[in-house]
Amino acid sequence: MTRDGSLIRVSGLTREYRMGAETVHALRGVDMEIYRNEYVAIMGPSGSGKSTLMNIIGCLDTCTVGEYWLNGVEVSGVGDDELARIRNQEIGFVFQTFNLLPRATALHNVELPLIYAGVSAKIRRRCAAQALERVGLADRMQHRPNELSGGQRQRVAIARGLVNEPSILLADEPTGNLDSTTSAEIMGVFDGLHQQGQTVVMVTHERDIAARARRVITLLDGRVHSDTVREAA
C-alpha cells in the first residue's frame, strides 16, 4: 500500500487517566496505520485499551502524548470545535448500545449529523431517507427506536453513521447486544459497505466477528500485540 492511501496514522499514542491518586495507563505508545478501503478489526481483552484507542480515533477523546493524523491532517492538539467538526464530517459511529435518541423517529435520528453539518431540511430528509434505504429500512422511517427490533435499531445507527459519507465507519462491538442470527445480518451489512469501498474499523472481542475483517490488530496492555493481514481469498 502506498502512503497516499493512509487514512489514519498514529504514532507513540499514549493516554493516561488520573483515577484519584493513581494514574491509569490506557495506551502506552501505539503505532499503526490504517489505509483507505480497509476493513480492520481491533481486538483485545477488556482493559487492553481498545475502547480508548477507538475514542481517540473517533475524536471523542484526545491522547496525552503522541501524534494522530487523519486524512493527512494532524488531529492531536486541535480545539474542541474542530474535533466536533471532524466527528461530524469524517467519522461515522456505530455503538454497541445503538445510542439512538429514543423520542425521535428513525428518520430524525439519521438526520442528526446533517443538522449539525448545517444541511438544509429538504436535503437532510432526502439524504437520511437514502441512507435508511441503503441499510434496508425504507419502510421503517417513521418508527421510533422502541418500535424497532435490535437489528433494525443497529441498522438505523449504521445509516446515521453513513449519512455524512464519512472517511471511516467506526463500530464499537456493534453486535454485542444482538443474538447470533441478527449479528450475522448486521455483519452482512458491514461486509456490503466495505465492498462498496467504505473504510470500516471495528472493535470487538469475538473471534468470528473479527474473522470477517481483512486485517486484525490485537491490543494488549495498551500496546499493539499483533497486526495480521489476511490475503483475500
Binding site: L60, D80, F93, N99, L101
Partner: protein, 413 residues
Amino acid sequence: MPFREAIRLALQVIWNQKMKSGFSVIGVFIGVTFLIAVVSIVEGMNNYMTDRFAGAILGVNTFQLRRYPRLQIEDVSRETRRKWWRRPRISYEDARAVTAGITVPHRAAWESLTSEHVEYGGKVARDIEIVGTSEQYFAIKDWDIAEGRPFSQQEARTGQPVIVLGNELANRLFENADPLGRHVKIRKIPYRVVGVVESQGNIFGISLDKFAVAPALSPIKRIVAPPRVIDALVVQTNSVEDLQTAMTQTEAVMRSRRGLRPTEENNFSVETSEAILDFWGKINRILMLALPGLVSISLVVGGIVIMNIMLMAVAERTREIGIRKSLGARRRDIMRQFLVESATLAIVGAGIGIGTGLALAALVQATTFLPARVAPWSVAVGVLLGAGVGIAAGLYPASRAARLDPVEAIRHE
C-alpha cells in the same frame, strides 16, 4: 444547529413533559399574570380618571376658587389645617369681583354644597347632595336635561324657589309620575321642580344622580352656606391657555381684595382638576413602584425553578448530549439547545401568564366597577421578561451541558 431547529426541539421536549413543564413555569406564569392584570387595571383607571372622574367632579378646563383645597392630596398637618380654618370664606362680593376681573371668555357659577333630606308627599330621600348655584352651572357640568329645563338667569338672580333634580332622586321621589311643576320640600321649604338632569351614571359604584340644584340666592342659601358666602366659585374657560390666564387674574383680584403683601401666601385656594389627577398620579406611581418588586420576586423564584428543572434535564439527558456530541454537535450547539429550551419554556409560561392576565383584567372589567385597559407595552414586557428569565436561568445548566465530556456522557446511563 439552526435556531429554528432548536426551537422546534424545545417545543417538542416541553410538549412531551407537559406536567413537569407546567410546574416549572409556575413562577414566571404568576409573575407575568400579575404584571398584565395590574398594569391593565391601573391603565384602565388612569384612562378613567382622566376621562371621567376629573371631568365629572370638576369639569373640563375648570378651576375652583375656594377657601382651602377640597382635595387633600398629601397628609396635611394639624397646623396647616388650623391655618386653613382661619382663612376668610369666599364672599358673594369676592365671587362677583373675580368674575368681573376675568377678561378671557369664560363661564362662572357659584357653588355651595350640603347634604340634606328631600321630601315629596310622604317620601323622604335622605342625604341628597344639595347645591346652591347659578344658572351657568349646568353648562359647566355639561349636564343634559332629561325633562323640563335648567333654572334661568332671571330665577337665579332673584332667588326663586325652583329646583332641578338628579335622575335617581327624581325617580325615587316621583317613581313614574311627572315631577315637573310639583313641589319638593327641603327643611320644610317648598321648591318647584323645573327640570330633571339626564343620568350621569356612577364612578367607582357611587351614583352621580343623587343631587338637587337650586339658585344660590333662593331660600336654599340658609342651609348650604353661612350668610353671604359660598363654598366655591367655579370657572370654566374654552382652552387650557385661557384657563391659565383666568387663574392668574383670579389670584390677582383675590390678593388685592384681601390686601395681601407680596411676601404673604394666598389665603385662598385656586384648584384645578389637575390636582385630582396629581392625586391619582401619586397612587398610580405607588402601584407602579410596587409592581416591579412583586413581579421580580415571582420571576426570580420562577427563574430558580427553571434553572433547577434545566439542571435536572441536563442530568437526565447526559447520554443524549453525548450522542449529539459524538455526531458532531459543538459546545455552542449544545449550549444553544438548552438555552433555547429554557427560554422557550419561560416564554410559554409568560404567554400563558399574558393570556390569564388579560382574562383576569377582562373579568374585573365585567364584574366590578373597576375599568381595565390592556397596555400593549405590558404584553411586550411580559414576553421580554419571560425570555430574559429563561435565558438567565438556562445559562448555567446549558454551559454545564456544553462542557460535558463526550466519552463519559455517552456511557452515562
